[in-house]
């Protein structure tokens, strides 16, 4: 009896997987979850992207295990996170086009809220640098209203929550040196080459 019973009770439940997916998609679409995430396979490796009600919140080079990145996101932003690729569709489309060289501007909404005022000012100035062009740390610091804050601007760029889409790769040293890049300089190189049509 016990065998027959528990085999039934614990039997396969393939419906659960679909039900869980349906739940996550709906929780994301109706903003019951604070963040929806998915991974994106870019030419620069896996990216973790996450969005909330106000727009894209995170675009991160996934160099660590996904679990770790999600735990970090969970503790920094909100634990109410679900996986929903379709919730990220607007940004996935734009990134696919960008990496194919057929998009020069990102239009889908971004969430600027989880930033300090200064970081927001620096990153907005950065987002205004046109495709294929570059600016300098001094330049974006000046745009952000802090002409001598190039070091602080560097820090603000270094903790850019939305790599690529907020194009911190377009910010170089005054003399033309590459400067730094959180994702690694090879990626900065790649993005600048892509935008210059050198790929």
């Amino acid at each position: 009896m016990s065998d027959k019973l528990t085999r039934k009770l614990r039997g396969p439940a393939p419906e659960a997987l679909d039900a869980a997916r349906r739940f996550a998609d709906r929780a994301a679409a109706e903003h019951e979850a604070d963040l929806a995430y998915t991974t994106f396979d870019s030419p620069l490796g896996q990216l973790l992207m996450a969005s909330g009600e106000r727009g894209l919140a995170v675009l991160h080079y996934l160099d660590e295990p996904l679990d770790e990145a999600l735990e970090y996101l969970s503790s920094k932003r909100s634990p109410r996170i679900v996986e929903s690729p379709r919730a990220l569709d607007p940004w996935r489309f734009e990134l696919d086009e960008y990496f194919a060289g057929s998009r020069q501007r990102f239009d889908a909404p971004l969430d600027w809220d989880a930033m300090t005022r200064f970081q927001r000012a620096v990153l907005r100035a950065t987002a205004a640098i046109p495709y294929g062009e570059t600016s300098t740390y001094t330049g974006v610091a000046g745009e952000a209203g802090s002409p001598r804050g190039q070091r602080a601007a560097g820090n603000a760029l270094g903790s850019n929550p939305m790599a690529i889409i907020i194009p911190c790769h377009r910010v170089l040293h005054l003399g033309g040196g590459l400067g730094g890049y959180t994702g690694g300089l090879h990626r900065k190189h790649y993005l600048l080459d892509l935008e210059a049509g050198r790929l």
């Binding site: 009896m1 027959k4 019973l5 528990t6 039934k8 009770l9 614990r10 039997g11 439940a13 419906e15 659960a16 997987l17 039900a19 869980a20 349906r22 739940f23 996550a24 709906r26 929780a27 019951e32 979850a33 995430y37 999600l70 735990e71 996101l73 969970s74 503790s75 909100s78 634990p79 109410r80 996170i81 679900v82 996986e83």
Partner: protein, 152 residues
Amino acid sequence: MSEPLPPFQTLLDNHSEDVWRTLRAMVGAQAAEDCFQETFLAALRAYPRLRPGSSPRAWLLTIAHNKAIDHLRRPRADELETDELEAPPAPPPPDRDVWGAVAALPPRQRAAVALRYIGDLSHREIGAAIGCSEEASRRSLTDGLKTLRRQL
């Protein structure tokens, strides 16, 4: 410093099958989908208030149990779709026995059996989920098993 809550998605990844199984035993496969969605929605909304360090599994199964009871108490729109009488989709004939026998148990016994043998919860956790004493939960389980033994 307490452990931060894990991302909610890990609860879905780790426990959705057992939540589903528990609901299937409680309300039948047909109604399990709605109860499943209600369970995780309630859990997501309440998640930030989950005490760090407490078992998310027992917590989820408790919510699932409550949703199942809500469902069983709800007046039926269509009496013909009574879940307790309904077999899950396309079970081979011998399985009908098991599901039929489980469905025929009083809800508390059914819950005790499901939470014990699907959820693997302790009697204390089962008591907390059902809203009765540990003793009463043990009794419900024993009564349920006695009936099932007679019928299977």
